[in-house]
Symmetry: C2
Subunit: 349 residues, 2 copies
């Protein structure tokens, strides 16, 4: 939020109108729908959310999407019938409202806008939906993102240095490590860290020794998390399926209290992600900024883990999706009073 | 089975009686109970099983174990009331009939026998239960096995060369890689390969693209499995959580047919296990035999994967548990006409 405010101040000095609604931006994921009413300076005027992610709609097909959207913000839509509406996230997947097929790297807000899909509501309101991004390296394995490309566009709008050159780590269910050069997404790797943690805790033998609803003492939690990271630091290739089993044996041998075992597992998985992610960072130019974008609590865990690797993130950002949706809308020409590129912004002031 | 017959021939030449029951051996795991009526030459005279593993008993407590055992072989027990009964596997765990606490490495059949637990049935029949094994390296993470130590004792009884020095790979839900020296288990590592595969297929996003009940064409299956292995071979430390995600992206990008994706996942996980397991093997003396013990179908997959690493197992064994239970009983002095150690066998002949 603070980031959006900071940015809007600089943009509003460029002459964009401040305060009056210019855009309805939708961050529409698997489990939730978030709506942002934004002004022409990328300032969030109002923010709402509901649980109608694309896997939790009241009806199948377009009607389910219509109902979720109306439930969130029919007043925003009705009061200003010409306000542009954009959306990003899983709403553009094959299971979404309309599919916006992946664009390939390199990709930036302009590429996203040039390849966006459009859906028309029953009331005739167009919604521009951002595509996801495919990274398909020669001789490597393909990777995809959908939703993160919008957050990245938002982050890069914050600082021109980052847009030039950055490594962006986005912790989550499916963490992304993204290489940025010249303002574009050049490549990325997905890590199933969050999902592995959740699935192993809920469905594997490892969860059996973890007591539900019982918190570890803070010092035990930290010690277990750090042991997980240290274990990851000592890993050779292929060691993870073995090291995972220690979540059980550390409990069986009473080396760790049961309520701390989940923190060992968390540290171990994050540690493995960092081994691989930081190896990507070392392939980038020396001094490349490392940005951390995600849930603040999760980013704290990653910062602690990064410290164990002797690394400090250059910046930690919260939700950059609204700003990214704004950049996407601007690149699509939906915000006539502003432009995505700084030089043309200056020419209008 | 053939292995047991071979061995019994050599033992029977040492004077042990052949053909008449000398032992009831129980391989009692999590999901099944297997009983073997054996003669004094380690020959299996009869074999039975039921689904009453320790997590599938009809009643809680001792009564459940009693009922499962009676259902399997009350006739064996009644007809020869003095026949010794031994058991190995999860029946000796904290959730078993009686706990036989872990012994620490180094361990062999004699150590298992010296630290066995005994339970008495309601009818007053003693059952000797083998302990599991704990490996707790200084500065490392602890590891445990329960059931495999019996299979290992059986395998080492097959060939004196293996007993001297071997690496034993035991593919399964929780694969074990075991270092043998001087007939003893010196150390081992557990890999959650099988459980990771099952849990990710059933409960993670990766399983969503895998059609249920649809087999891949054999050539697609092999190609996907091999791609998984090759991907594992290219892995640096920490890469697994990333490479797992390719199970999804290879499907999304139609690089692999949906019904082959599970084989990529299988090859990837087995490949990672082999990276780590074969690294353990290289730390052993040159020429150390590599034994593969387990389900024949699974061993075939591992053999194919090993070939990709340029390695061929020295031998592949099926179920060595009956022979191992026999060794355990002999070491406990329950088979007066035979002995676990070759030298004393000679002295009785």
């Amino acid at each position: 939020m603070e980031r959006s405010v900071t940015s809007s101040a600089s943009l509003s000095s460029a002459g964009a109108s401040s305060g009056s609604p210019a855009l309805i931006a939708l961050d529409w994921g698997t489990s939730s729908l978030r709506g942002f009413l934004m002004d022409g300076s990328a300032r969030v005027l109002a923010e709402r959310s509901n649980a109608h992610g694309i896997q939790n709609l009241s009806e199948a097909g377009a009607a389910g999407f219509e109902a979720a959207l109306a439930g969130l913000c029919d007043d925003w839509l009705d009061i200003r019938p010409t306000l542009p509406v954009v959306a990003g996230g899983m709403v553009g997947s094959a299971q979404g409202w309309v599919e916006a097929p992946y664009v390939t790297t390199p990709a930036d807000a302009t590429v996203l806008a040039d390849n966006a899909a459009q859906v028309m509501t029953a009331a005739g309101r167009p919604i521009l939906i951002a595509p996801g991004v495919l990274h398909d390296p020669v001789g490597g394995i393909p990777d995809v993102m959908r939703g993160e490309e919008i957050q990245i566009a938002g982050a890069l709008a914050e600082d021109s240095g980052w847009a030039r050159d950055a490594c962006i780590a986005m912790p989550g269910t499916h963490s992304k490590w993204v290489r940025i050069a010249d303002g574009r997404i050049m490549g990325f790797s997905t890590f199933m860290t969050g999902e592995l943690f959740a699935v192993l805790k809920a469905h594997s033998l490892l969860g059996r020794l973890m007591p539900a609803g019982l918190d570890a003492k803070p010092e035990d939690e930290k010690a277990a998390f750090d042991t997980g990271i240290q274990t990851a630091q000592s890993a050779g290739p292929g060691d993870l399926p073995h090291q995972l089993f220690a979540t059980r044996t550390l409990g069986l041998t009473k080396r760790m209290p049961p309520e701390a075992l989940a923190h060992y597992l968390s540290g171990l998985l994050i540690g493995h992600e960092l081994r691989s992610g930081l190896a990507l960072l070392t392939e980038m130019p020396a001094g490349t900024p490392l940005l951390l974008i995600g849930d603040p609590g999760l980013c704290r865990r990653y910062s602690r883990a990064l410290a164990a690797f002797g690394t400090t993130p250059t910046a930690q950002l919260g939700n950059t999706a609204p700003r990214g949706l704004f950049q996407f809308a601007a690149a699509a020409g939906l915000l006539p009073s502003v432009s995505a590129s700084p030089s043309s912004t200056e020419s209008t002031s």
